[in-house]
């Protein structure tokens, strides 16, 4: 046996090289390959949706139709520029691609797939074939979504509100269908993660010995399982309403369109926690690794994930304060919304306490995590303005809401996707990237981000409504902030470009990474090679120490 072990030492065959050929990727049930395929797809869709967002910002920079918009529209044979319905479609597709193809699947499907089994010491997820099916649901949904785009795209906004969505002539039903299929991808991944965490933890690893990323995935997996079927069937009902006239959302037939909003947000509010809880798990991992300390209040952080999952499922109607609900309902939902700030705050305070007296090293993943802390706190606090009934009525449907949403979603999920990528990139690809370039990108990103979305918040406070392609004359006071916002978007996009450029360069020309470049204590760094072998571990690991049991003092 020891001969074999030493032979393995000299001949480390990573999962990339174990089998080769395209078919071994297409039909693979290896969670790592599925994770890599998700990463590729998710990144491409992200960059594409960034481009759509860029077009929106260019249109809004100056009053009137922009030259840039005319140029883009001209490339597709149009002459009007990005105004009117074209703008509506652009805006809808930006939202649909970002939310359903990037933010929701992003962190669980990429890092969850790749690292959850390794972190708990398993050789794969519990249901590998289901995992492959979930990937193909994603592919099918993505294809339908792209098809919609080329057929013109829906103009409803990503929320598909009835009764407009049931009446517009545009291709809403295909977009609904895409979201339905993508929902199944999400459900199957959720089921898989729950079963994996219940069944495949390494010997000796109790529930409270798991890394916190696993806890975050566990909580969000439950939300995926509980909430996604609701939106799936709601979207199907909307399709049936549109084509078969069942009338459930159609006031002409006795239906109630507000019911659609309820059913939609019963999913879509928990969905924002599906989007934010996994990134919070990454924050815990990175905080522990780069502060060389156990995460302060481990159990509180773990339970706060579950707390967010539970309370987050009961707050949906705060999207509908102005939709015509009873006052009692509005007050209760406002109260519940404030409650959900508690577990979120528990997390932020515990991370801050983790840094206190920690041995902090400001490596790139940590820099992006600190950016998260700032942006998410700003987003969280401005969220209270939206959650409070009295103030929300004033900022409802203004740019303030757009700014808030981007602060928590992009500043939360997107930034932690970057940080997670920086943290795990060496393990996934076996290469190390250039730190200096990442530092430069982080500065550009941070400054640009705050100009872009901070500008939007200020516009919203001034009263600028969202979803307008132009401000009618008499609203010249919006021009300055629209300009600042668009200029910020240029800086931010430059940061994103440098970020992905650096990683792409490192993928081919980067230095070889060692097995544990960050000196982390969790399984994926301590017990696997870089990149991991096919079944992850040379021999099944057992848990003999906690995931964050760093020695008291560590030499830098």
């Amino acid at each position: 046996m020891s001969d074999v072990a030493s032979a393995e030492q000299s001949q480390h065959v990573s999962f990339y090289k174990e089998t080769s050929g395209i078919m071994n990727w297409i039909w693979t049930i290896d969670h790592k390959r599925i994770g890599i395929m998700y990463l590729t797809a998710v990144t491409i869709f992200f960059l594409f949706a960034v481009f759509l967002g860029f077009c929106i910002r260019m249109e809004l920079m100056d009053p009137g139709v922009s030259e840039f918009g005319k140029m883009i529209d001209g490339m597709f044979g149009g002459t009007d520029g990005l105004q009117g319905n074209t703008y509506n479609r652009l805006l809808t597709m930006h939202g649909v691609v970002m939310i359903f193809l990037f933010i929701i699947p992003g962190i669980p499907a990429v890092f969850g797939n790749f690292f959850l089994p390794i972190m708990i010491g398993a050789d794969d997820v519990a249901l590998p074939k289901l995992n492959l099916l979930s990937w193909y649901c994603y592919v099918a949904g993505a294809i339908v979504a792209l098809l919609v785009l080329f057929l013109g795209g829906p103009d409803t906004g990503w929320t598909f509100y009835a009764p407009y969505s049931a009446q517009t002539a545009d291709t809403v039903e295909l977009a609904l269908f895409a979201a339905f299929i993508l929902g199944w991808s999400s459900i199957l991944t959720g089921i898989n993660f729950i079963v994996t965490i219940h069944r495949l933890r390494a010997p000796g690893m109790g529930w409270f010995d798991m890394p916190l990323f696993c806890w975050a995935l566990y909580a969000s997996a439950w939300m995926q399982v509980i909430a996604t079927p609701v939106v799936g069937i709601t979207l199907i009902l909307l399709m049936l309403d549109k084509h078969l006239g069942i009338g459930i959302f159609d006031p002409l037939k006795g239906g109630d369109p507000v019911l659609f909003q309820h059913m939609f947000w019963i999913y879509s509010h928990p969905a924002v926690y599906i989007m934010i809880v996994p990134p919070m798990g990454i924050v815990s991992e990175i905080m522990a690794t780069f502060c060389r300390r156990i995460v302060f209040g481990y159990k509180f952080v773990a339970f706060s994930s579950m707390g967010i999952a539970m309370i987050g499922s009961l707050v949906w109607a705060h999207h509908m304060y102005t939709a015509g609900m009873a006052d009692e309902a509005r007050i209760i939902f406002s109260f519940l919304t404030f409650l959900v700030a508690l577990p979120s705050a528990v997390k932020v305070f515990n991370w801050t306490a983790t840094m206190y007296k920690g041995s902090i090293s400001l490596a790139p993943p940590m820099i992006y995590t600190l950016i998260f802390m700032v942006l998410f706190s700003i987003g969280g606090f401005t969220g209270l303005v939206n959650g409070a009934l009295a103030t929300d009525v004033h900022v409802h449907d203004t740019f303030f809401v757009v700014g808030h949403f981007h602060y928590v979603m992009f500043g939360g999920n997107g930034v932690m996707f970057f940080a997670g990528l920086l943290y795990w990139f060496p393990k996934m690809f076996g290469r190390m990237y250039n730190f200096t370039m990442i530092y430069i990108s982080s500065v550009l990103f941070f400054v640009g981000f705050n100009m872009l979305y901070g500008g939007m918040k200020w516009l919203g406070i001034m009263g600028a409504p969202r979803r307008y392609w132009d401000m009618p004359s008499g609203n010249e006071h919006y021009v300055t902030w629209n300009k600042i916002s668009t200029h910020g978007s240029w800086l931010m996009i430059a940061g994103i470009a440098i970020f992905f450029g650096t990683l792409l360069y490192a993928l081919f020309f980067g230095k070889k990474a060692t097995d544990n470049p960050w000196g982390s204590m969790t399984f994926e760094w301590k017990k696997t090679k870089t990149p991991p072998v096919l079944l992850n571990f040379d021999s099944p690991p057992t848990m003999t120490y906690g995931p964050y049991d760093y020695p008291e003092k560590v030499e830098k």
Binding site: V4, A7, E8, Q11, V13, K17, E18, T19, S20, N24, T28, I29, D30, D123, D124, A126, L127, P128, L130, I187, G190, I191, N192, I194, V195, H198, R199, L200, V225, I226, T228, P229, V230, G232, I233, T234, L237, L240, L244, G245, I246, G247, I248, K253, G254, G255, D256, L259, M263, L534, L535
Partner: protein, 219 residues
Amino acid sequence: MSELTANANNLNDHDHHGDAPHEHHYDPEGDKMGMWLFLFTELLLFGIFFIGFAVYLNMYPEDFSRCSKRLDPILGGINTLVLLFSSFTMALAIQQLQKGNKTASQILSFITLICAGVFCLIKKSEWLHKFDGGLFLNSEYLSTLPHGEQIFYGLYFVMTGTHAIHVIIGAILIITTMVFVHFDKVHADRITLIENAGLFWHLVDLIWIFLFPLYYLIG
């Protein structure tokens, strides 16, 4: 490259090979847990229908009660008994396979299938009867009815239709299981597939038990 890989494989006495890279261990508990979670999502899916039903029943109680009287509780009742009986035979089929009685299990599965067929035929005759009376979605006649009745029939067709689709999926699942049992891929020691098919079938039955009183008996 492939030669190198093959050499490396020979050196390792792992249980992974070039052609079949993954021999995942068999975990019946895990598979069953996955199935229960899936059933949970199904319940939530129908849950939204039931919420919709509750909302509109509350808005239009008289219309709903009037429409309910026009459905045939005898046919609905027969269908309920058929499904209950089929759930019983399905449970027996699993039990027989656990004991190793393959033939008995296959016969019981087949009876379950026949019950599924009978259910669908009765459902079809009920729907056709409605269609003959001019009652179908988007019909001229339907649009002249009061709001509550339009919503009632809209929900009726969608909910019983979705349930019927689940009956058909369940039947396909049972056929698949029978094929696997026939080729001894599913047997007393590897029973998860038929158990999961059984769980799905009980869910189909259970949902009907709620649909039946809501539509046929509230009048």
